[in-house]
């Protein structure tokens, strides 16, 4: 009698434990599922653009250097400069100070170049692709310069000493710095006027117009053919998905599927990719890279991509 009672309680305790475990398992599984989706996404991107595998692989965040519209001319300048900059490395290791300096420029450029390529690949596929590939070329140059720099770094640790030397020998480089400083200011003021404050009571949650307004500078830059832009400071990232109203976990929060800055959770994103594939924030089609991942079996989405790649090859030679 006594025994059976004890047994009962232990059984029920076991059952409770089991239920708990299952709950935990379930949430862990859910998280794992999201992580998998995320990884898959990256893999598909990396597979597509293998040369994009660089240290700057993370998507542009709001902390990346603020660079603004007035820059385009100088930016073009800088990215052109990347090639000449890494020629001297191979010629003589004595020029390393110069390299170090140029490299700093080009690396900082690198982070934003990628974000540019992301944005460009979104709207018009042909045009966007073309730009994307220019960006890719820059990336390879950066990667080359980076590896060369690493090799030479050991022999010339004090590369700052050549500062003045650099300025006199590499004309485009000095143009860069004052430019950055002068454009930093307008950027700071540009973000101030805003129709809605993020905490405004009347602000409809994720009003599309707002995002349109945000993406405007991006379009401008694309128009000017600029290689550099940093993502406009995103209004404080939402803590919950604006589609399903569930909380965003860290994976979701770092997920930026569209250059309009509209964030959503991976589940809702997947659901949209299965349907009309348009970003809820700006109603534009999600970028081809994203689309491509979804229909790997389809041949059509792959063709423009391969075409544009071969295009880039010919333009490089």
């Amino acid at each position: 009698m006594h025994d059976s009672k004890a047994n009962d309680s232990s059984v029920s305790a076991n059952a409770r434990d089991f239920a708990k475990k299952r709950r935990v398992n379930r949430s862990a599984k859910l998280k794992q599922c999201k992580l998998d989706a995320r990884r898959e996404q990256w893999l598909s991107q990396v597979k597509g653009n293998s040369c994009k595998v660089t240290p700057m692989a993370s998507p542009p965040t709001s902390s990346s250097p603020p660079v603004s519209m007035p820059r385009p001319q100088s930016c073009l300048h800088d990215s052109d400069m990347v090639f000449p900059a890494h020629i001297p490395i191979s010629n003589s290791s004595g020029n390393t100070p110069k390299v170090g300096c140029c490299l700093n420029n080009s690396v900082s450029r690198g982070g934003s170049t990628r974000s540019c390529s992301l944005s460009a690949s979104d709207g018009e596929e042909e045009g966007g692709r073309g730009e994307d590939n220019v960006a890719l070329d820059d990336w390879e140059a950066v990667a080359d310069a980076l590896s060369a720099y690493k090799v030479n770094d050991g022999c010339h640790p004090s590369h700052d000493t050549g500062g003045t030397f650099v300025e006199s020998h590499v004309p485009p480089a000095p143009v860069n710095d004052p430019c950055v400083q002068s454009t930093m200011k307008p950027e700071a003021t540009r973000t101030i006027p805003r129709a809605w404050r993020p905490d405004d009571v009347f602000r409809p949650q994720s009003l599309p117009n707002l995002y349109k307004h945000q993406s405007f500078p991006t379009n401008m830059e694309r128009h000017f053919g600029a290689k550099v832009w940093s993502h406009p400071v995103i209004l404080s990232a939402p803590s919950s998905c604006p589609i399903c109203y569930e909380d965003l976990d860290p994976t979701d929060s770092s997920f930026l599927p569209c250059d309009c800055g509209f964030r959503l959770c991976l589940f809702c994103h997947k659901r949209i990719l299965e349907a009309d594939c348009r970003c809820p924030g700006c109603r534009k089609q999600y970028s081809p890279v994203e689309g491509e991942k979804m229909d790997m079996s389809g041949v059509a989405p792959l063709i423009p991509f391969q075409l544009s790649r071969s295009c880039s090859m010919s333009s490089r030679s």
Binding site: V201, F202, P204, Q205, S206, L207, P208, P242, I243, C244, Y245, E246, F262, C268, R271, I272, A275, R278, P280, G281, R283
Partner: protein, 196 residues
């Protein structure tokens, strides 16, 4: 597989500031069916719809929020983009321009904006649209008359009417249902109560 939690949050969110926004939304019936809702919008100030309260029937498809809600005016309204016969609405965000980032509240606010900015070139009701284009003063007069006739009676001072009729000795529940059935017309309700 309607997203119940989202709809519930939207309802709470929309009704939080209905006095300011002029739009509200509630369950249509008492059975707790979240896929059938009743929205109201107040007529925008400075338009022939000013002062009116317009009721809108809202049905949520199972794919909501990935599919647009189905909305239709219950209150009769004279507007080029709203059918004067059945209240059907011609508005892009309720069709191909819907985005899951929109909400019931933003959709209702868009309807409110539609009331203040008719698009006669893309009409739902051709008769109204023609009148709008050819005889604008007449259009305004008609729209105002419809607002007075259909959009005001039902809601303005319904409590006072109820109270009046209750004071006459009729039970409150019956008064409310009768008023409801005659669309808020006090005299008709009284007639009906007396005859019934």
């Amino acid at each position: 597989m309607l997203d119940v939690s989202r709809v519930q949050k939207e309802l709470a969110d929309c009704n939080k500031d209905k006095a300011i926004s002029g739009v509200s939304i509630d369950l249509h019936g008492g059975d707790g069916d979240l896929s059938h809702l009743a929205g109201t919008i107040s007529g925008p100030v400075g338009t022939p719809y000013e002062g009116g309260t317009f009721r809108i029937d809202v049905r949520l498809p199972s794919g909501y929020p990935f599919e647009p809600p189905k909305m239709q005016f219950v209150t009769k309204v004279w507007h080029p983009n709203i059918s004067s016969q059945n209240g059907a609405i011609c508005l892009d965000i309720l069709k191909d321009q819907w985005s899951p980032a929109l909400t019931l509240k933003t959709a209702l606010l868009s309807l409110q904006a539609l009331l203040s900015a008719p698009e006669p070139d893309d009409p739902q009701d051709a008769v109204v649209a023609q009148q709008y284009l050819r005889d604008y003063p007449m259009f305004v007069a008609t729209a105002r008359y419809w607002t007075e006739t259909f959009a005001k009676r039902a809601s303005v001072g319904i409590e006072e009417k109820v109270q009046k009729l209750v004071e006459m000795g009729f039970p409150e529940a019956l008064v409310r249902s009768t008023l409801d059935s005659v669309n808020g017309d006090e005299n008709m309700a009284l007639e009906k109560l007396c005859s019934g």
